[in-house]
Symmetry: none
Subunit: 208 residues, 4 copies
Amino acid sequence: MPRRVREQQIIDVGVRVFAKRGYHAASVDEIAELAGISKPMVYLYLDSKEGLFLACLRRESDRLVAAFQGAARAGAPEERLYAGLAAFFGFVSDHRDSWVVLHRQAADLGATIAAEVGEVRRVVMAEVAGLVGDGITDSGSGCRGALLGKEDADFVAHALVGAADSLTDWMARNPGESPDGVALRLMHMVWVGMRHALDGEAWAPGER
Amino acid sequence: MPRRVREQQIIDVGVRVFAKRGYHAASVDEIAELAGISKPMVYLYLDSKEGLFLACLRRESDRLVAAFQGAARAGAPEERLYAGLAAFFGFVSDHRDSWVVLHRQAADLGATIAAEVGEVRRVVMAEVAGLVGDGITDSGSGCRGALLGKEDADFVAHALVGAADSLTDWMARNPGESPDGVALRLMHMVWVGMRHALDGEAWAPGER
Amino acid sequence: MPRRVREQQIIDVGVRVFAKRGYHAASVDEIAELAGISKPMVYLYLDSKEGLFLACLRRESDRLVAAFQGAARAGAPEERLYAGLAAFFGFVSDHRDSWVVLHRQAADLGATIAAEVGEVRRVVMAEVAGLVGDGITDSGSGCRGALLGKEDADFVAHALVGAADSLTDWMARNPGESPDGVALRLMHMVWVGMRHALDGEAWAPGER
Amino acid sequence: MPRRVREQQIIDVGVRVFAKRGYHAASVDEIAELAGISKPMVYLYLDSKEGLFLACLRRESDRLVAAFQGAARAGAPEERLYAGLAAFFGFVSDHRDSWVVLHRQAADLGATIAAEVGEVRRVVMAEVAGLVGDGITDSGSGCRGALLGKEDADFVAHALVGAADSLTDWMARNPGESPDGVALRLMHMVWVGMRHALDGEAWAPGER
DNA sequence: CATGAATGAGTCTTCATTCAT
DNA sequence: AATGAATGAAGACTCATTCAT
């Protein structure tokens, strides 16, 4: 069996096991066994547990980015945000484990891995920030850009990513909902408000 | 040194270490050392690594609930949501590790612990769902209740908890922001839209 | 509470626990707790786990010897053997744990203890050897002494002690039997044969 | 080195160490070291300390049973008993540790092990009971069967096994004696008497 | 007389990793 | 290309034992 194929098989299993158990609790033994090969092969191909995890991380990260970029890159900003969210929920629907590996590792990783995980998260966040920042900046007359400056976009991106991550669980518990439906609901929550907020409507505690 | 005091000291350190490393990667040795005592004391007082973790979980969970309940329980629904969010961000500001222990464990926990962690998460979610569900249901003329039925409240609660969790990281990276400020920003994102959404304004893909 | 009383209480519990678990698996913690006192008292009174075990050993050994010596020391030799056996089975009936502590420890004891246990076993064996050796030597015309010389008496003593020990289990599983009954049965097995053997009757393989 | 061979080596050493120290006091470390391998191998091949002990137990138990069954299974009943005893003493002469592992563990074993040890002891006892029960029942005119009913055979078996066990120690201290010699002496003690006892001769305390 | 608090040392067990074949 | 055999290092847990009070 050619090397590349084997490698992918190992990574497939790795993603499953890392998602199920977390980095530390996952054992190379289990991964090798589920992959149907012997442990030395894992080390031959992927170097170390860390190497294996990084390979998983990278492949899934690429897949997620690809899913994002496959989504409509043009059109009205809100369309693009919607498309991005829909792509995200679609991706998670299809590859639950990938997202878990990418986003739900505990803080128990070595320096090298932590760095790469941080990088992945930053990329995701930047992608989303681009979506909302650009989206809104470009969105119309141009003067609205002020409200969502770089810092605001980052704030909103964090909120959106967090919400989306959490809604991942909600989806798992509400299997009837389609990814597009979830994205739409989230848009309702966020976009309608944003539209008005950009027009200057605000909320303040103590208002009545 | 009396038992109770020591116990709290151990839990203090436990929360710190579990937050930093995650359940599996945390070692009882390290916790004992940081607590300035020997391992057997940890076992004498907390029974096992699992027992220690559960003790941490429970204490921090209680603290979080207390922080929530200290927030205004009366007033207009949006005031209550704002107060709840502000309380949450305040709590996380003061006890970063607590939230990490409560919410960011990887999937590598034994059955007993997983059950308790699940329970904690469910309670938090229910608290928030209550905030938005009741808040909106009661909010005005009463007829708005329809939009945020039980399922909607659950959806919104997931989105909010996820957003808040993620904004936790944002706060850590933007130390200038006060918890109240973060809560306010999140309210802007969400509440203004909700107000309009409840009035029937919607968004649909492909609209223009 | 006076020291002597406490000491006996501790030894009481010690015998129970050592019998139930064996020397190694018994824990001083458990003994202290069952005795209703704190561990330092155990150490104050008995010095160490080894000291505690030795105290148990000695007390129970004395009790067993006393039980033996209480049995008829005079009379026909076979009467004395019977009385000795009956005393033994009576003792074990009443103090199962004592016998277990005295005779059923695994080989896992430190040098000091092993020596003392060996000594106790030797004393028991000698007592019995005395019973059969003297018994038979003195028994009648005097010429029979030849058959049961010192080595023979030792052999018979080993066989008898082993049989008695094992019958201890049989008794436990046949609660209807009285100690005297068991002793009688054993006498039947052994004495009748011995009477004839002393008269020169033998058995050889291949005889027909 | 192939797995099977190593496994047997480990068990060899296990029997030696368990015999010398007893289950609890034996340490896997020591066994690994004496076997000339590292601890993980022991766990890889035998699973756990318990697993290792059970493996020892089973192998030695099989050996003992084989030794028994190698002994003459036919011939006059007393011949068979003698052959059985001789086989036993021969076995113990050659494999002192085996018998110790099989029969001399303190009461400190976990449930699983205790069950298996109990089973082994029951098998040995049944084997001997079969020897004396059948042996005597079948022995002659047939009418003698009455004396050694099932319960009597069990009693005698206990006595014999106990005696044999104890004589094991005697043998160790009298190295000149051959196993056959010991068996013969024990036959003298027991069989001659039994022959007469079956013919109705009895002994009663107080008789003269 | 009595104990709560504390620990050094040791045991079982597992895991990532390598080497000889 | 592939693996059976092997291990150093580390982690959870327990126990006999001792102070300070």
